[in-house]
Point group: C2
Chain length 211, copies 2
């Protein structure tokens, strides 16, 4: 498999966690979002791979091109079911997916590079951007804190879908100086992930395109 990825894209980071949890090998194809003359993601070559011009994209072992991290992770879990990223129980799966959706829908898109760039074009400065980013991260993590469990990873002793979304969001919170003090459960999950080989392997600090 080939993963079109950018080291500190949290959506790429989620898919890297899922691949690592399942022990799946892949080749990283770095897509630099921050080239001054326009990111590699906006070039025709990459737009032919992903018409959205976003990362990640996954080329499967059968040569199929998949986009959108939630769709890619569900694909990986269906195609390579062991170890599972979701519980078997329908209601438990819904709770796990709800945490993923809070982060994937209501937090990250509000502060990713596209959104930050449009806010800059609209005249907002870096201080205002940090305020904007902090608003959405705090709202989302505040909800997640109430939904996850009291021990282990988000929903038990083993990491899964919710953790694959939460840990990259914690990384973004730290990057943008958003306090995690109000979220002891999230801090507990983050501390466990920091010691887990799959999460370490997937971390932005450990990628081929890490500066």
């Amino acid at each position: 498999m080939q993963l079109y990825t950018y080291y500190r894209s949290t959506a790429s980071y989620r898919v890297r966690i899922a691949l690592a949890l399942k022990g799946l090998d892949f080749t990283a194809v770095p897509i630099n979002l921050l080239v001054p003359a326009g990111g590699a993601n906006r070039q025709p070559e990459y737009l032919a791979i992903n018409p959205q011009g976003r990362v990640p994209a996954l080329r499967t072992n059968d040569g199929e091109l998949l986009i959108q991290s939630p769709a890619i992770i569900e694909y990986l879990d269906e195609r390579y079911p062991q170890p599972p990223l979701l519980s078997k129980d329908f209601v438990a799966r819904a709770h796990e997916r709800a945490v993923a959706s809070i982060i994937g829908c209501d937090v990250h898109p509000l502060h990713n590079s596209s959104t930050q760039n449009l806010l800059r074009q609209w005249g907002h400065d870096e201080t205002q951007l940090l305020e904007w980013i902090g608003h959405w991260i705090s709202q989302g993590l505040g909800a997640v804190e109430q939904l996850i469990g009291d021990q282990g990873f988000c929903f038990g002793e083993l990491p899964g879908l919710a953790d694959a979304f939460l840990i990259p969001q914690v990384y973004a919170a730290e990057r943008f100086k958003v306090s995690l003090d109000a979220y002891p459960r999230i801090q507990r999950v983050a501390a466990l992930a920091a010691q887990h080989p799959a999460f370490v392997q997937a971390h932005p600090a450990n990628q081929p395109d890490t500066p």
Copy 2:
């Protein structure tokens, strides 16, 4: 089942489509997001149901409370598998979920009422808001147009997950005066949905809380 819903919330509208496609009965519990003194969604009574204070939320027949429309729709498809909202093939499912995620992650959260309210607090006027909204809807629908098929609904003769996300987004595009001229495939799907009983039943014009 009980669905906590608001007539023109596109996330509620998605779940209403999924319920209608499966022929599932439910009681609508209207949550008015636009009460002048603070939406019903921000009251303690509703925050106990959904700590995010967003709609929709679903109370299942077993009394379980589920939140986040992507998670609720996947639950419905797993718990009530007929008719299916996703193909059986893993890659096809990934393409269907990718369209849902483009809309659910990269379009709708950028223009929902929470985001509009924060932009207003930041001093942006209604003209600027329409520009902001149009930017994200056009970007997302432009990508979706390239990903869906040449006939029928998004991915074939029968409607499914991608359609349940796309049709509410088309409704939002019309509400916010975003042109659909560049998207003939999307227009075709919208025309089919306008004649389909499940989509008609789920439409914002036909809800108990429609003004």
